[in-house]
């Protein structure tokens, strides 16, 4: 029984019920017709045998006293039954003693006594004519037309078809009502589930209209909604609590950062000032002591740089974004011009290619380019010719460009690349390359505040490439990539 599974439950129930009813009636009707046919034939044979037995006693005297007229008149009493179409009394020698034939009937075939022959259209039976002493004196052959059987079957099948039609209509009506009664709670449950999904309102509840499986399902659904509602409220409270904690922590950290930067400046200035006085006014100072004081001064300068960097980092973290459409090519060129105030130099080759514009805070994005190009200049200055390229790439399937700053400098071990963007993290000693270790952390923070990502590819002494995007929907590779520079 192929009921389409994409149709509604009501339609499927209706189809199943109607088909089941029709199948049952059809099978029952056919079975009854077959049984009726067999029974009718059996009854026909039985009635023929009884009729033959009744006639035989009278026919025996006719045969025994040689009275064929009487036998013929006896046989003609069969006219009362329209189904009996022929009869004959056959003598033991095979001759016909008396005969009754309705119009169009051929003479009856010779049958052995007790034999009967059933064809599609008729039934022929032969029985013995017995004398009062019980001796056979002849045979009575009667032929019965089975037309009445088929008429009865036709009548029966007509009634069956009529019952089938009535039952189909009734089944359709009943199945429609049953289907609606079964499907409505399910549809109501589905509607509630949809409403919950759309509105995210876990306070909604499904109506429990029955105590059956659907009712149990609705109750389970409601219990699940109650649980979700409880979890949702709890989660909301938790988020609010954590947000408050986080904001407070950020404010404290910012205050701490400012206080450290500002409050440390006074003692550092004291150290710097008095060290300078010592250097200027001390008359009897050995060169060794002067060197010590020089080292104190350089330490003070370094501490000042670190405090400036920390202030910058704090500012980048907390300042509001003022976004505009930025001409990235011009911005990068301006940064290069600032970094090389004396103009192009023979041992530095910087190429800024034409790049797509992008939305962002111009001041902060300028800081990104300044840090990345500045690092490129710093780490490639030991090369005979520093080659630095600034350009953009297009990742297939993404509209936003990926900006790249590439150099042929010292590079770094890609295994440690994940730590590259952490605060105060440095891969080279200050003696090799100066710096505070805060620049890339600031760069990463700026990029992330724009919703973008930053990553790097490098290997030691093979140069480095820094990639960044300024939108969130950019496909980016893993941060640690060991492939060498192309």
């Amino acid at each position: 029984m192929n009921v389409p599974f994409n149709s509604s439950i009501e339609a499927r129930l209706r189809t199943v019920i109607v088909r089941a009813c029709l199948t049952v009636i059809c099978v029952t009707g056919l079975s009854l017709m077959v049984v009726e046919c067999v029974i009718l034939r059996h009854h026909a044979l039985q009635s023929l045998q009884v009729r033959a037995r009744i006639l035989s006693s009278g026919l025996a005297a006719s045969v025994m006293f040689e009275n064929p007229e009487d036998a013929t008149s006896l046989l003609h009493t069969l006219r009362g039954d329209p189904n009996t179409v022929a009869a004959a009394v056959i003598l033991p020698g095979g001759s016909v003693f008396a005969e009754y034939l309705t119009p169009g009937q051929a003479p009856l075939p010779a049958l052995s006594i007790g034999e009967h022959r059933i064809t599609v259209s008729d039934l022929v039976h032969s029985s013995a004519i017995l004398s009062p002493e019980g001796r056979p004196v002849g045979a009575l052959v009667i032929k019965m037309s089975l037309g009445f059987v088929y008429q009865r079957l036709l009548y029966f099948s007509s009634i069956t078809v009529l019952i089938m039609v009535c039952t189909a209509v009734l089944a359709l009506f009943i199945s429609h009502r049953i289907g609606r009664r079964i499907s409505q709670p399910i549809l109501a449950l589905a509607a509630t589930a949809n409403r919950v999904q759309t509105t995210r309102d876990f306070s909604l509840r499904a109506e429990v209209s029955s105590r059956d499986e659907v009712g149990m399902l609705a109750e389970s659904f409601n219990s699940m909604l109650a649980l979700l509602q409880q979890h949702s409220v709890h989660l909301e409270e938790k988020v609010q609590e954590r947000t408050v904690q986080l904001v407070r922590a950020c404010q404290e950290l910012e205050a701490f950062s400012y206080s450290v930067s500002h409050d440390l400046r006074a003692p550092v200035r004291t150290i710097s000032g008095f060290t300078q006085i010592l250097l200027d006014e001390a008359k009897e100072m050995t060169p060794e002591h002067a060197a010590y004081l020089g080292r104190i001064m350089s330490g003070v300068e370094r501490m000042n740089s670190l405090m400036d960097a920390l202030l910058d980092f704090s500012r980048v973290t907390n300042c509001a974004l003022d976004t505009h459409l930025i001409d990235m090519t011009s911005l990068a060129k301006d940064v290069v011009a600032e970094l090389l105030p004396d103009g192009p130099q023979p041992n530095i080759h910087i190429s800024v290619h034409k790049m797509q514009p992008c939305r962002g805070d111009p001041m902060l994005v300028r800081q990104v380019f300044a840090n990345l190009i500045g690092n490129a200049l710093k780490y490639s200055r030991k090369r005979e010719v520093a080659v630095i390229s600034v350009y953009d790439e297009r990742v297939p399937g993404c509209d936003a460009p990926t900006y790249v700053v590439r150099d042929n400098g010292a590079g770094f071990d890609a295994v440690r690349a994940t730590r590259l963007f952490e605060v105060f993290e440095r891969f080279h000693s200050p003696a090799e390359f100066e710096g505070t270790g805060v620049g890339l952390a600031i760069t990463k923070r700026i990029v992330e505040r724009h919703g973008g990502k930053i990553w790097a590819r490098s290997s030691p002494d093979q140069g480095a490439s820094f990639y960044f995007t300024l939108t969130a929907d950019v496909r980016t590779p893993e941060m640690s990539v060991t492939s060498p520079m192309p």
Partner: protein, 174 residues
Amino acid sequence: MSRFRVVLLAILLSAPTSAQLPPSSDELKAVFLYHFGQYITWPNDVYSHTPDSFVIGVWGSHGVERALVGAVQGERVRGRKVVIRRIVERLEALQCQVLYLAPGIEDEAPWAEISDLPILTVGEGDEFELRGGMVCFVPLRNRIGLRIWQSRAAKANLVINSQLLRIAEVRNLP
């Protein structure tokens, strides 16, 4: 019934064919005489002298007698052996269950004695019927018909089967 007799009976009852002559009048009468035994009931005391025999007496017709002997000698009626007896004297006639009187014998028959006895008298002709015969063979087109004087048979305590009465012409006059 022996095989030979069944075949003979079948021949007697069969319609004539080109290779087979129709049964003669005597042969038919002989068979009818035998059949009467099956359609007529005699009172039980009639068999007191000859309890195992059913006696058919033939008076005055050798043809019928021969046919009877040939057809039913040794047969049984109602469990009794059929005995064919040629009747030549009046008293012999009183020992039969069926008595066939050939035409012309009516004057010799002991009508007064047998009128109250359970003896089925069979004959033919007007004289036979006038004298008080019970079953009369009547020529009817190409066959032999029966005329039964039922009241006479009833007077002799003979009960005639309705099937036999149905195929016969029944008279109820005394």
